[in-house]
């Protein structure tokens, strides 16, 4: 019984993989994202400049040239080097924040759907609150109170972005609960935790997965924005921090496009690839969309 | 001249996995004041036939051949713009009751009247007056013109649909499962209403259904469709008394007979063929207990087995003699 289930799951994942491969949108997204992940992992090992290497006064705000391919910032640091080490920080924040968000969203969604009644009501009011409350002001206030560190940023993004996931997971849990096998398991006297983790979770998982991609996109954008507003970790140069410094140093008025464009382009590419993947997953998982 | 003549209609769907011959070489005709029942399992092409007549096929579908003569005018040759003035004015449709066929954010009066304004070139005010008259014709108070669709029950919505279909005094009404999803009482009311109006206005009526039992009292003629083809067509009484095609026999066996004697329903074994990989020979052969070699090899011709009684079956003689 179990081995059949595993085999079915394995086959489903394989089918999913081949759908991704055949879906151009998903493929482009995956390739771009993989590129950035590889850069984030291995890039910092091979860059010839130290990111904290302040240059000489004459190195400040240089346009792209033979030595500094993407030019230098107002402190004489190499932009490309910063970009590469920033990839690691930005992606790490995005990844961990998404993990927290998905964890909370799944937990609240499943509990709400599974237990129903008063618990459902309370959890859904809470979810509504997080859905309706303006995101950025909330994050700004939390980040301001907690202080600027990379971990606080991760925490703040994670804790404020789970509401949408909770909603979706709750709806799916309700429909799974309706199905017979859960009823049967309940009558056999299995505990709630067992039912939720063994029967409901595997069934809501595909949904969670599709949602993850969109949350990740939002998390990276949030990090960029918070850092830009001066709430980032000054000791770790994410793309958002680069943009913060660029803005503070007046790169726009100085027309130092090589300073403020590249970090933004990287953010756009990563977020866009997440968005493309999300769009494609939706298409693959809701075949109704495809046939019409 | 007949009101409507469909000759050798071929409507195919081109989908990603291949070509589906949803309607293949279908012919029938309809006279003024006459009613025709089009019966078959779902997916047999009955709805596609109806949508072909008014050219409302989904974009994958296309008419590949045949003629659709409405009082001698071949509708199959018209483009969408030319077709627009025939739709509703000459041929109107009543869709399935369960369908969401009425616009939820528009008052039903406006929905009926807009068609009158379009085709009869009258003012909205006059059209609304006429819409009220029609509503009374389907036995509903005219003040309900001001209501929205969600304020009606299923049966009432279906009456509104019929009123709407009558709006422009069409020559033909096509009912696509107009009473499916309604309870038996309401079903009978709706069908009686259509009957009454058809006779009153001398309209042609095509009733599409999967339920043979509702046709007995309603239709003059019945055509049985299977996998995109008409396998048997005859006058109602003749068809019920002397069904020839094995498929027709099975269908009739599927519902309780008229004397109220509830015979055990005899389901039809097997499933309709995969429309992408049609069998060679007779399409029903794989499910037919009488099938022999010839049935699996060649497509049967349509033969006239009695007055206005046509059957496409190799075994028609045996079938008649066997009874």
């Amino acid at each position: 019984m179990n081995s059949i289930k595993h085999e079915m799951r394995r086959r489903k994942i394989k089918e999913f993989g081949s759908s991704v491969y055949h879906n151009k949108t998903a493929l482009v997204g995956t390739i771009v994202l993989s590129f950035f992940v590889i850069v984030a992992i291995f890039g910092p090992m091979i860059i010839p400049f130290s990111t904290l290497d302040f240059g000489n006064p004459e190195d400040m705000l240089q346009a792209p040239n033979g030595e500094h391919w993407l030019g230098t910032d107002d402190m004489g640091r190499d932009i490309l080097a910063n970009l590469i080490s920033g990839a690691r920080v930005s992606l790490l924040i995005g990844f961990l924040a998404t993990l927290i968000s998905m964890g909370i969203g799944t937990l609240i969604g499943i509990s709400s759907g599974y237990f129903g009644k008063a618990i459902d009501n309370i959890l859904m009011r809470l979810t509504d609150f997080f859905l309706v409350i303006p995101w950025l002001p909330l994050m700004m206030v939390l980040a301001a109170i907690l202080g600027t560190s990379i971990w606080n940023i991760i925490f703040v993004i994670g804790i404020t972005s789970w509401a949408g996931t909770a909603r979706v997971v709750r709806a799916q849990t309700l429909s799974v609960k309706e199905r017979q096998f859960v009823e049967r398991t309940v009558s056999l006297g299995s505990g709630s935790f067992h039912i939720m983790s063994k029967h409901i979770l595997p069934n809501v998982f595909p949904l969670i997965f599709a949602n993850t991609v969109l949350i990740a996109a939002a998390a990276i954008l949030s990090e960029t924005t918070l850092s830009f507003l001066g709430l980032g970790d000054p000791t770790r140069a994410s793309w958002g921090m680069m943009l913060h410094y660029a803005f503070e140093s007046g790169a726009a008025s100085a027309n130092a496009y090589w300073y403020y464009l590249p970090p933004g382009i990287c953010v756009v590419l990563v977020v866009l690839s997440f968005a493309l993947m999300g769009y494609a997953f939706d298409e693959i998982m809701n075949p109704k969309f495809k046939e019409r | 001249m007949k009101l409507l003549e469909v000759k050798n209609l071929k409507t195919y769907f081109n989908i990603s996995s291949g070509q589906v011959k949803a309607v293949d070489d279908v012919s029938f005709d309809l006279d003024y004041g006459e009613s025709l029942g089009l019966v078959g399992e779902s997916g047999c092409g009955k709805t596609t036939s109806a949508l072909s007549i008014v050219q409302l096929l989904p974009k994958e579908g296309k008419i590949y051949g045949g003629e659709i003569l409405l009082e001698g005018v071949n509708l199959a040759e018209l483009n969408d713009g030319e077709m627009q003035k025939y739709r509703w004015n000459d041929i109107s449709l009543v869709f399935q009751g369960a369908m969401n066929a009425l616009n939820p954010v528009m008052r039903i009066g406006d929905q009926i009247a807009e068609a009158i304004v379009l085709h009869q070139k009258v003012s909205m005010k006059e059209a609304l007056i006429k819409a009220g008259d029609i509503l009374e014709l389907v036995e509903m108070p005219r003040d309900r013109l001001m209501n929205y669709p969600h304020e009606f029950s299923g049966g009432m919505k279906q009456r509104v649909m019929i009123a709407m279909a009558l709006a422009c005094d069409p020559k033909i009404i096509i009912g696509d499962e107009p009473t499916t999803a309604l309870d038996v009482m309401v079903q009978a009311q709706i069908l009686n209403l259509i009957e009454k109006l058809r006779k009153e206005f001398n309209m042609g009526f095509i009733l599409i259904t999967h339920d043979l039992s509702i046709l007995t009292e309603t239709c003059d003629k019945i055509a049985i469709m299977y996998a995109g083809k008409i396998v048997e067509i005859a006058e109602s009484e003749e068809l019920f008394k002397k069904p020839v095609h094995p498929y027709t026999n099975k269908l009739i066996g599927c519902f309780p007979d008229m004397n109220g004697e509830r015979k055990l329903k005899e389901g039809i074994e097997g499933a309709p063929p995969n429309m992408l990989e049609l069998p060679s020979g007779c399409l029903f052969a794989p499910r037919c207990e009488f099938a022999s070699d010839i049935c699996h090899q060649s497509m049967p011709e349509t033969v006239e087995v009695g007055p206005n009684h046509y059957v496409a079956c190799h075994k028609w003689e045996e079938m008649i003699n066997g009874q």
Binding site: V132, I133, P134, W135, Y260 | M164
Partner: protein, 322 residues
């Protein structure tokens, strides 16, 4: 049914506002950054000063008394004193409301009109270049940090092309010939922030409109309309668009929270003297009472706006569902 719906929505709105108040209270009193620890951080603070501040904020009273005090002050519109402006938070906020309303209002109007129009054109020409272009535009603007687009706009139009003035709402130190000239100056300053804000919204509205409309076009009543002999144009205008507009209203309301996030960034980049840049300022200066006041105002406005949308919706849509 509508009454039940309104009562339910009103109850939910009240509960949400209440959660906002409690949340706000906890956030600023119990976490670091409460008035006491602010004053304690001052090395010259004497024990007497600490006591005075405690008494002033009621910090020596039990927590429920404190909460009631906080609530009473709130009802009187007393949000405390701003550290930076040395005046009442309510007063400081009041002067900044109009510029933000003007900027956001104009941007929303432009975005709604253009977004809906684009969405309709894209859905009606599905799969064509217009459709793909609209999709691409929506995806790219969705992926863009708002402030970054602002920076690009400033450097292209203000620094590079010099078409628009850099920053602010009025040219500093200028004497105007009359009110007309002053108004013109304000308009001139408004163009870029408004356009930037609307660009970000257009993509979202266009995409939503496109997808909703495409779903509507698959509905059965569209087939009915076709069967009635109407042209594509008429069906789109009279049957499809009105049905697609209803979900749009909800999307616009839900989006309000995001719009405010965008306003904070755009006002910061363009030095627009509104609530957004005030929030940025209070954040940089760690002016907690001001930050708290702004946060409260913004969240409650968004909750109320959503509530009003729900109620309006129940009157526009003939089918009010629970």
């Amino acid at each position: 049914m509508r009454r039940k719906f309104i009562i339910k929505k009103t109850m939910y709105a009240i509960i949400t506002v209440f959660i906002v108040l409690i949340f706000n209270y906890i956030l600023f009193r119990i976490l670091p950054g409460d008035p006491l620890s602010m004053i304690m951080r001052n090395p010259r603070a004497t024990p007497e000063m600490v006591d005075t501040v405690s008494a002033l904020y009621g910090l020596d009273k039990p927590w429920y008394t404190q909460f009631i005090m906080y609530f009473q002050n709130m009802l009187h519109g007393d949000l405390g004193m701003s550290f930076v402006y040395k005046s009442s938070v309510t007063g400081v906020i009041a002067t900044k409301i109009l510029p933000t309303l003007w900027m956001l209002g104009m941007a929303e109007i432009i975005a709604i009109i253009v977004g809906i129009f684009l969405g309709i054109v894209a859905a009606a020409n599905r799969g064509t270049k217009i459709d793909v272009g609209t999709l691409g535009f929506s995806l790219v603007t969705y992926s863009m940090p708002t402030f970054w687009l602002g920076i690009i706009m400033v450097s292209v139009f203000c620094v590079g092309l010099r078409i628009f003035p850099v920053g602010g709402m009025q040219s500093p130190g200028m004497s105007f010939a009359g009110e007309g000239a002053q108004l013109l100056d304000i308009l001139h300053h408004s163009v870029l922030p408004i356009i930037t804000m609307s660009i970000l919204l257009i993509g979202e509205y266009a995409l939503t409109m496109r997808n909703t409309l495409m779903d509507v076009l698959e509905e059965d009543y569209i087939l009915t309309a076709k069967a009635k002999g109407f042209s594509r144009k008429y069906i789109l205008r009279k049957h499809a668009v009105p049905n697609a507009m209803l979900p749009m209203i909800t999307i616009i309301a839900i989006n309000l929270g995001l719009v405010i996030g965008g306003a904070i960034q755009i006002e910061t980049v363009f030095s627009w003297p509104g609530l957004g840049s005030l929030m940025y300022e209070s954040l940089s200066a760690r002016d907690y009472p001001l930050l708290q006041g702004l946060f409260l105002l913004i969240t409650i406005s968004v909750v109320l706006a959503n509530y009003l949308t729900d109620i309006t919706y129940s009157y526009i849509d003939p089918r009010v569902k629970d």
